[in-house]
């Protein structure tokens, strides 16, 4: 053990740590879930979260305490993902996601299953796998909204797109995912119907 550090250094460090634990570390589960959906790989997700926390701790003085730590951390995570992971884990999209026209499931199930009972038969893993198949721009929007419950405004800030883009991507992402889940339910015999 080194000798006791000067009195004027130690207390702020403890304070920094306590503040970081209270405001940032509590969001570890959120960061992990988002990282896992972005990288689609548990080991990359671990590394991405670790890196995000290190960057966040280094930049902690720039964060305005008591504002929105979750959105701030997710912004750091997304930048780290784009800069260091996307290049090697996934290729940027070549399709224009904003022209994808989703398929209307409700009109298919309206008569036989308007309460969507078939959803209940689909397990967690299958839903996550279907999310992982969405185009990246849809996937990140849907995860921030439906998995983490962020507002359109917060999502627009993190993804650096206008709110109108968040709305339209979320609409398409949810409908596209619903179509995939419906196809799966038909395939498994959870519901009668023809796959889209």
């Amino acid at each position: 053990m080194a000798k006791t550090p000067p009195q004027d250094v130690s207390p702020p460090l403890d304070e920094k740590r306590a503040g970081f634990e209270r405001e940032a570390l509590v969001h570890l589960d959120v960061l992990y879930r988002v990282a896992l959906r972005l990288t689609a790989n548990p080991s990359d997700a671990d590394d991405l979260v670790q890196e995000t926390m290190l960057k966040a701790y280094r930049a902690w003085d720039q964060y305005e305490k008591g504002t929105n730590a979750k959105a701030w951390l997710l912004t750091i995570l997304r930048h780290a993902f784009i800069n260091e992971y996307r290049r090697r884990t996934r290729h940027p999209e070549t399709v224009d996601v904003d022209t994808i026209e989703p398929y209307a499931v409700f009109s298919e199930v309206q008569d036989d299953d308007p309460q969507g009972a078939f959803f209940d038969k689909i397990v967690d893993d299958q839903v996550l796998r279907a999310i992982d198949q969405l185009p990246e721009a849809f996937r990140e929007t849907l995860v921030l909204s439906d998995v983490e419950g962020l507002s359109y405004q917060e999502i627009a800030g993190i993804l650096e797109v206008p709110i109108g883009t968040v709305k339209s991507r979320l609409f398409r992402a949810r409908q596209l995912l619903q179509g995939k889940l419906y196809d799966y339910a038909v395939e498994m015999g959870y519901i009668k119907g023809s796959p889209a």
Binding site: L28, Y32, V127, I131
Partner: protein, 74 residues
């Protein structure tokens, strides 16, 4: 408000992202229009289902230890 407009605002309504005026207009339309009302119910169930399926997983305990070790040397 017609059915098309009502369905266009579906998710914004369920996400509570609409202005109170627009929300009122939609509620009024849903009361008079059983097919739209049914579709709103269906989509609401779908969103609840998504949340229930996707929020169960947390960070592994090992990752938490690793982060603490890296940040604070423990």
């Amino acid at each position: 408000m017609n059915c098309r407009e009502c369905v266009d605002h579906l998710y914004e309504f369920l996400d509570r992202e609409l202005t109170p005026e627009l929300e009122r207009e939609i509620r009024a339309h849903l009361e008079d229009c059983p097919p739209c009302d049914e579709q709103y119910d269906f989509e609401e169930l779908y969103l609840k289902f998504l949340r229930a399926r996707c929020r169960t997983q947390g960070a592994p305990a090992e990752l938490k230890k690793r982060v603490l070790r890296e940040l604070f040397g423990e």
